[in-house]
């Protein structure tokens, strides 16, 4: 049944009112030679069943993480998602609500955001967090802008070991702001070299970024780096994997004044690069510079507890012309997913989750040690990712593994640290002992072939 809002009679009535003979008359101002004379080159219409079948067949061509075994990481991870996450966020009050324009009416939404902010503050150890950011990369860009505004400087140092996608986003956001972006070199250990950073510290530096664990999966020497920035005007910004915070030091513990990261591993599926979920937290001192909105808890005039927008998007209201950020919304639904996920696990569960990642990356290390021709280029502590140096380009192994139903990892050829044979392998709590053993077998076979050649 076609849905056409106007009947032929409606159209005739309307033409009569405006004094036109036909619908074509309405377009008489358009020159004849630019008007389309034949019907649009489109296939015939399909019925609902046919449309459904068409898209199901197209979707069937995708090979997702339910069908393949994924060792992909580098910022987005294949993690287990309890069924309750989807069940709860599917409630229409949450699922269909747009960002609240009359926020105090939406107490449930505000409470969910408040809980999310509380989780982020507890994980990072910092004082204030906001209603969420688009993703980890843009959250880092916003953090750098905050730090430079607060320090009133125009130069930022990014580590060479930073996720390259984050670096590109930050560079884009700094373009036009007159901000100089410097890169702190990585040492032989695959982590930021504290001496190298120390030499770069001048009075112009307003912000130093550390990513922990870094793009190579390695835990940075955060205390040594923090010592270099403390006592200077530069603000230390930590980009972190929140899953790691139950087993690694929190950003506040090593003196970071702003922490950001990607909360996708908390209950959000990998879906072709998005949507993701960024978070940002800062010290009390910097709270006026946090972008977006902050929800607070309060009591009303009858003494009932309730939630309010304590800080609204000032960028959009009273200080538009002074805005340093243009974030105007939040990833509300994804923040809710992460909140449901964290509340289901609780403090103990999050601890176990972090440990499960550590155990599996240790299992991977043991499984690949001793494979002839395979090297482990870095021996520092890792959380859930490991760099393997293969005998041949990583791209060849990725192709080989894919033919066995395995997404083998990320090719580090274009990453400035390491070699073209380096492969970044992630193992989350979702990877089983058998899957890790299978990957080791594939690596063994791949290296045997190398020897034959």
């Amino acid at each position: 049944m076609p849905y056409v809002p106007h009947t032929p009679e409606d159209i005739q009535d309307m033409l009569k009112v405006i004094g036109a003979e036909s619908v074509d008359d309405l377009f008489s101002d358009l020159p004849d030679n630019v008007r389309l004379k034949e019907p649009l080159n489109l296939p015939d219409g399909l019925c609902e069943e046919e449309v459904l079948r068409y898209f199901m067949q197209a979707a069937g061509k995708n090979h997702g993480q339910n069908e393949l075994t994924s060792f992909l990481g580098g910022g987005v991870y294949d993690c287990s998602i309890p069924a309750a996450v989807d069940a709860i966020i599917s409630r229409s009050e949450f699922l269909t609500a747009y960002t609240p324009y009359q926020p105090e009416v939406s107490q449930g939404t505000l409470q969910a955001i408040y809980e999310w902010q509380t989780f982020v503050c507890r994980l990072t150890g910092l004082d204030v967090s906001n209603a969420s950011m688009y993703d980890g990369a843009t959250a880092l860009g916003e953090a750098v802008l905050m730090a430079l505004a607060a320090s009133r400087k125009k130069t930022v140092i990014l580590p060479e070991t930073l996720n390259p996608r984050y670096r590109r986003v930050v560079a884009t956001m700094m373009r036009g702001m007159g901000v100089k972006v410097l890169v702190a070199p990585a040492g032989q250990s695959g982590t930021t070299d504290p001496d190298g950073l120390k030499k770069m510290m001048t009075d112009d530096i307003g912000c130093v970024v550390v990513q922990n664990p870094n793009y190579l999966g390695l835990v940075e020497q955060v205390d040594a780096l923090s010592q270099i920035t403390s006592g200077t005007k530069a603000i230390l910004v930590a980009a972190v994997n929140p899953v790691s915070l139950s087993v690694l030091k929190s950003p506040a513990e090593y003196g970071a004044e702003i922490a950001v990261g990607e909360a996708q591993p908390f209950g959000i599926p990998c879906s072709w690069g998005g949507p993701l979920l960024g978070f940002i937290a800062c010290t009390d001192k910097l709270k006026r510079r946090i972008p977006g909105r902050v929800v607070g808890a309060t009591t009303d005039n009858r003494g009932n507890s309730g939630y309010v927008l304590t800080l609204q998007t000032r960028e959009q209201h009273i200080r538009r012309e002074k805005a340093t950020s243009n974030i105007c919304s939040n990833q509300g639904l994804n923040a809710l997913r992460a909140t449901v996920f964290m509340s289901m696990l609780g403090a103990e569960g999050l601890q176990e989750l972090g440990e499960a990642n550590l155990i599996r990356v240790t299992a991977l290390r043991r499984a690949v040690e001793g494979i002839d021709g395979l090297e482990l280029p870095y021996d520092g502590p890792v959380f859930n990712e490991l760099v393997l140096r293969l005998q041949r380009p990583a791209a060849e192994f990725i192709k080989f593994a894919r033919s066995h139903g395995v997404l083998g990892g990320i090719d580090l050829e274009k990453f400035p640290v390491g070699t073209a044979n380096d492969l970044l392998v992630a193992v989350t709590e979702k990877r089983t002992a058998w899957e890790i053993e299978n990957l080791a077998q594939l690596l063994k076979t791949f290296h045997c072939e190398a020897e034959v050649k």
């Binding site: 009133r152 006026r288 000032r314 009273i318 200080r319 002074k322």
Partner: protein, 125 residues
Amino acid sequence: MVPNDRKYTKEHEWVLLEDGVATIGVTDFAASELGDIVFVEMPEVGDEVNIEETVGSIESVKAVEDLFVPVTGEVVEINEDIDATPELVNSEPFDGGWLFKVKMNDEAEMDKLMDAAAYGEILGG
């Protein structure tokens, strides 16, 4: 009306000169126009500031206004109480609600500012 011991700007700030150091604040008119002030972004001690430059902002529940510096010199002190109790700007704009102090390079700049009578005329008109 407004105190006679100091000078005024058309941006509704006041300047009180004592021993080469200018104390700067906003007038009761500015404070009441802004409404409840919740935050003042101050310059930092040691900043070299130039006449009529923007050195911070005053934020109330309904607006944000630039904070200008009416004289040239070095910021030597800021009112530390404002951070915790910004409402001082509303309750005591000419006393406890002062904002920051500048050691002036050239005291002749004071002559360019309005006296209480001239400022009173602006308010009256």
